[in-house]
């Protein structure tokens, strides 16, 4: 008890310093890091560079390459149907099967429908339960007269450490304006300026203001509308029906999938001319023990099943740790505090009340700086043993006028006020949270993977964002590539017959496991994180 008391006093003391020094920090412009300084900072402190967290993938298309141990285990895992006997005669037939009902999946479904092909969507939870619904900050589109797709491209390339697939990236930024128009057409309500023009805000790592958003509910708005549109098109959606394995013709073409009905644990075999995988990210793997901002179903299910069926991955070793995840209260740990709050003036300060980084550096740099402060003893420790630095939000109102926080960030305000924290009065504690899978399944501009007939869209794919995604580029990605994958998969379906359904790829994978001496340590995909208390 005494310890806890002492701890609280220390936090209060530090918080008072933050409040006292606020005015003196207010107008100071913190310099941006030089490329060299940034390189140094990131290499020293970013979790992506922590060697002991990585291991070699011993089998499959990316054999010999590295990724984090959690993902190695997933890829080398045992199929959950290995010991089941499942009928491979199709219970359902459809032109295009879409797996995953988030933003990318919903967009793809609409695009398939528009192309006139038949479509079935299967998703793990309910339609729309996803990472998409949580996006707060916004979506990047180069619209303003002082901006251009080239500028957007260069910013993204710099953010991605120059390792982005340039063709994918060019298509992403060039399609931005037209998909923004499409979103307006289906009824997405983006914020406007007083004069009625679309409002654009700056984002970290971006040289121009190009974030379209809806308050801090951008993802909710997008997902609500996409979902409404999917239902309007009467697209059939199987909820609580995750995919557990893909099917191939045994000759390198994807021909369908096996779904598991979570209500009765029965399997459903679906035969499709093409398959679009849009299963999203991996935050719930809690890589390197990090908390996460992701939804409950973000367990990277798409990776092991696509990999076993022969699809190659790219940049599978890089993840985004969002610099500002909540640290306190404990119940909010890992939850995102949107970057947009920093873009309107909130500062990061250490336990001494001092700033230590320009808040608008790219995410990997800001996250590294926060980790550095904490490792070097300038962080604040909570009673539950978490560390963090202060995000000084009251500054936002000081800089932009009272009420700005509540008006522009109603979601953030509501979340904190549930725990009796007033973000317009008090700074909050933050630490990097596992946020986004930078890499994923390798695709071409049509969204097709290296496994023919398997298209991938959204966070499950890799290449577009290089080693670090720029804020706001993922929402753009899911719409642009959701549409492209939908179109290309429909076209291919129109030229294709139904083909054989086999699990031969799985048998081959098992053989490879054996000959490489790989003993699977887990069953994958895992579908849900295991949080249940076993006592």
């Amino acid at each position: 008890m005494l310890m806890e008391k002492l701890g609280m006093d220390k936090i209060e003391e530090s918080k008072n310093r933050v409040q006292a020094l606020r005015a003196s920090r207010k107008d100071i412009k913190w310099p941006l890091l030089s490329e060299e300084e940034k390189h140094h900072l990131v290499h020293q402190y970013h979790p992506d560079y922590k060697k002991e967290a990585y291991g070699e993938i011993r089998i499959g298309p990316n054999r010999g390459e590295k990724t984090v141990l959690e993902v190695v285990k997933l890829l080398e895992g045992e199929s959950s149907i290995a010991s089941e006997s499942i009928s491979l005669s199709a219970a359902r037939q459809v032109d295009v099967l879409i797996i995953g009902g988030g933003g990318a999946g919903a967009t793809a479904a609409l695009s398939v429908k528009e192309a006139g092909a038949s479509v079935l969507m299967a998703t793990k939870l309910r339609l729309g339960d996803s990472n998409t619904v949580m996006a707060e900050g916004g979506m990047q589109v180069a619209i303003s007269p002082d901006d251009s797709p080239i500028q957007h491209f260069m910013d993204s390339l710099r953010g991605g450490h120059m390792e982005n697939d340039r063709t994918l990236l060019k298509t992403l930024v060039e399609s931005g304006p037209s998909v923004a128009k499409w979103l307006l057409d289906i009824g997405v309500l983006f914020d406007r300026e007083e004069d009625g023009n679309l409002s654009l805000r700056p984002g970290g790592g971006s040289s121009r203001a190009r974030l379209l958003r809806c308050k801090d509910y951008t993802g909710l708005e997008l997902m609500r509308v996409l979902k409404d549109a999917v239902l309007d098109e009467e697209i059939e959606v199987l909820e609580f029906s995750p995919v557990v394995e893909l099917l191939t013709d045994g000759e390198g073409i994807c021909t369908g999938a096996i779904l598991k009905n979570l209500d009765n644990n029965k399997y459903l075999t679906v035969q499709a001319k093409t398959v679009i995988l849009s299963t999203g990210g991996m935050g719930r793997l809690h890589i390197q023990g990090f908390p996460t901002s992701n939804h409950y179903g973000a367990t990277a299910d798409g990776l092991p099943i696509a990999y076993r069926a022969g699809a190659a991955l790219t940049l599978q070793d890089t993840f985004q740790y969002h610099p500002t995840g909540a640290v306190y209260p404990e119940a909010m740990a890992g939850i995102l505090v949107t970057e947009a709050i920093r873009s309107v003036g909130a500062q990061l300060v250490n336990s001494n009340g001092e700033r230590f980084v320009n808040e608008m550096e790219t995410r990997d740099a800001v996250a590294s700086a926060v980790i550095r402060e904490c490792q070097e003893g300038r962080g604040v420790e909570t009673s539950s043993g978490r560390r963090g630095v202060w995000l000084d939000m009251p500054l936002v109102d000081l800089l932009n006028g009272e009420g700005t926080l509540k008006d522009r960030f109603p979601n953030m305000d509501r979340q904190y006020s549930r725990y009796k924290i007033d973000i317009s009065k008090d700074p909050v504690l933050v630490y990097p949270t596992l946020h986004y899978q930078n890499g994923g399944i390798k695709i071409n501009v049509d969204g097709e993977s290296t496994l023919k007939g398997l298209f991938v869209a959204g966070e499950a794919s890799g290449g577009i964002h290089g080693r670090n995604r720029l804020m706001g580029n993922s929402l753009l990605d899911i719409i642009v590539y959701g549409k492209r994958a939908g179109r290309a998969a429909s076209l291919r379906a129109s030229e294709t017959e139904f083909r054989k359904l086999t699990l031969r790829h799985l048998e081959e994978y098992q053989k490879e496991q054996k000959s490489a001496g790989v003993v699977p340590q887990i069953v994958s995909p895992i579908l849900f994180p295991d949080y249940v208390n076993k006592d």
């Binding site: 619209i143 539950s384 509501r414 208390n533």
Partner: protein, 219 residues
């Protein structure tokens, strides 16, 4: 009770009593209702989604000593309290009307055209009272009856589509469905403001950036 690891990492302590589905249970303090469910051995599949207060999957009705009346809340956003009781509520079962935005009906009439029962609202406030997001739902419904699309849209900005408003409405009105339709329709009420966007699309389509691209892509 000793310290137990929390699902999000970190440690938790001190045990309190909560009542779930009528039976008492002990859980550590400082966790959310969803985390308490895990603690009690329930692997959640329904009644869970974003864990972030925006998907509306985890609605509960609860009573706690700190407030007299029972109220609804989102389980992922609610911390357990000593002597609280709660029950999970069913998911949204309201049916969505098929609402093509381009239907041949004037915009201000579309809400009632697709959701005609809306005009049966008896202003009982039940929807507003139950909304876990604190939305003035009834105000939205009244505005819908008056055809004020933008006013409806504005009210439902933070709607998480949990469907509780529609569950409690005796007149079988589906306020959240009307709300989202109003939002989709209201985009068209901002015409002439996307000039920049059209200019940019045109520039891209007519090859304005072609040379720059060649330079950038080959560098």
């Amino acid at each position: 009770m000793g310290k137990t690891p929390s699902p999000r990492g970190g440690m938790m302590s001190r045990s309190i009593t909560i009542e779930f589905d009528g039976a008492p249970h002990y859980v550590p303090e400082g966790i959310t209702v969803i985390q308490a469910m895990w603690h009690l051995g329930h692997p959640m599949i329904r009644g869970i989604g974003c864990l972030n207060g925006v998907c509306g999957a985890c609605t509960i009705t609860m009573r706690s000593p700190s407030q007299g009346e029972s109220r609804t809340a989102l389980a992922c956003q609610t911390m357990v309290e000593d002597s609280m009781s709660f029950t999970f509520l069913p998911p949204d079962a309201s049916k969505k009307a098929i609402t093509p935005l381009s239907a041949e009906v004037p915009d201000e009439k579309k809400l009632l055209h697709f959701y005609p029962e809306t005009k049966r609202c008896v202003a009982c406030q039940a929807c507003t009272t139950i909304c876990p997001q604190g939305i003035d739902v009834m105000g939205g419904v009244r505005a819908a009856i008056n055809g004020e699309i933008s006013a409806v849209a504005e009210r439902f900005t933070s709607c998480v589509m949990c469907g509780l408003c529609s569950m409690v409405c005796d007149a079988r009105i589906r306020p959240h469905r009307v709300g989202i339709l109003a939002r989709r329709l209201s985009v068209a009420a901002h015409p002439g403001s996307t000039e920049q966007l059209y200019v940019r699309i045109d520039e891209i389509n007519t090859g304005r950036y072609k040379e720059e691209w060649e330079r950038v892509m080959s560098s």
